[in-house]
Symmetry: C2
Subunit: 138 residues, 2 copies
């Protein structure tokens, strides 16, 4: 049977099974990227854990782990039986805990970049390019 959500999600996902990054993390990142790029809009539904797992060819529990993380962080809502829907992004997702984690990650990234010869202008330019790239879909 034809499945709209599965078609949508297939366009967004590009998992690398050889990567050292766990599948459930890649899945999380790519769904978040889909939301950031408005390929996934508020109210839209995602395939069920079983359907998604079957589409991608991975285990149900791997998808379940991703959904659980996305739910905890406010990206999606899981209505029992109505399925999984994308939330409207909300400023309440901008917690101190998250900001602290972001800064920590940025510090590691920037320290290495600086050592290797990426200066603040290069770095800022690259960041802005990525912001533009994500916004293209709007």
């Amino acid at each position: 049977m034809y499945n709209v959500e599965s078609e949508m999600i297939r366009m967004i996902l590009n998992l690398d099974f050889e990567s050292e990054i766990p599948i459930y993390q890649q899945l999380r990142s790519q769904i978040i990227e889909g939301i950031a790029m408005k390929k996934l809009k508020p109210g839209e539904t995602l395939p069920s854990v079983r359907q998604m797992a079957s589409d991608i060819g991975i285990n149900m529990h791997t998808v379940n782990k991703t959904y659980t993380l996305l739910k905890q962080d406010g990206f999606i809502t899981v209505h029992r039986q109505k399925g999984v829907t994308v939330n409207k992004m909300n400023k309440s997702m901008l917690t101190d805990e998250y900001l602290s984690r972001l800064k920590q990650n940025l510090r590691i990234l920037i320290a290495e970049a600086a050592c290797r010869g990426v200066n603040k202008d290069n770095f800022t330019e690259t960041s802005l390019e990525i912001f533009s790239y994500l916004k293209k879909g709007e």
Copy 2:
């Protein structure tokens, strides 16, 4: 016996043994941060794998793994018997492979940040603050 390198490195390191981030990665990141902040200058020596391991209270092989990574990436040089020294940072460390990895990491970071309400100005400001923070030591 008093050990200068050990004193230095103790000032720089702050490992979290409860973290989900592997120790050898934390160690790598923090040494790179030390180099970026010029707390570790070109030509300076790092403690031997055994000394460092003993100082921190971890296994020799964990330190060895970190040193091997840092060596591969050009941050340090290992002279058999002369010890481990910090390299002068070099533009040859700015490889395409690294830039690709940096952009990938930034894209994930920025996608989530954008969803949570960090706009490009916030993000740029935070990045520049970190660049300034790292440069304080110069």
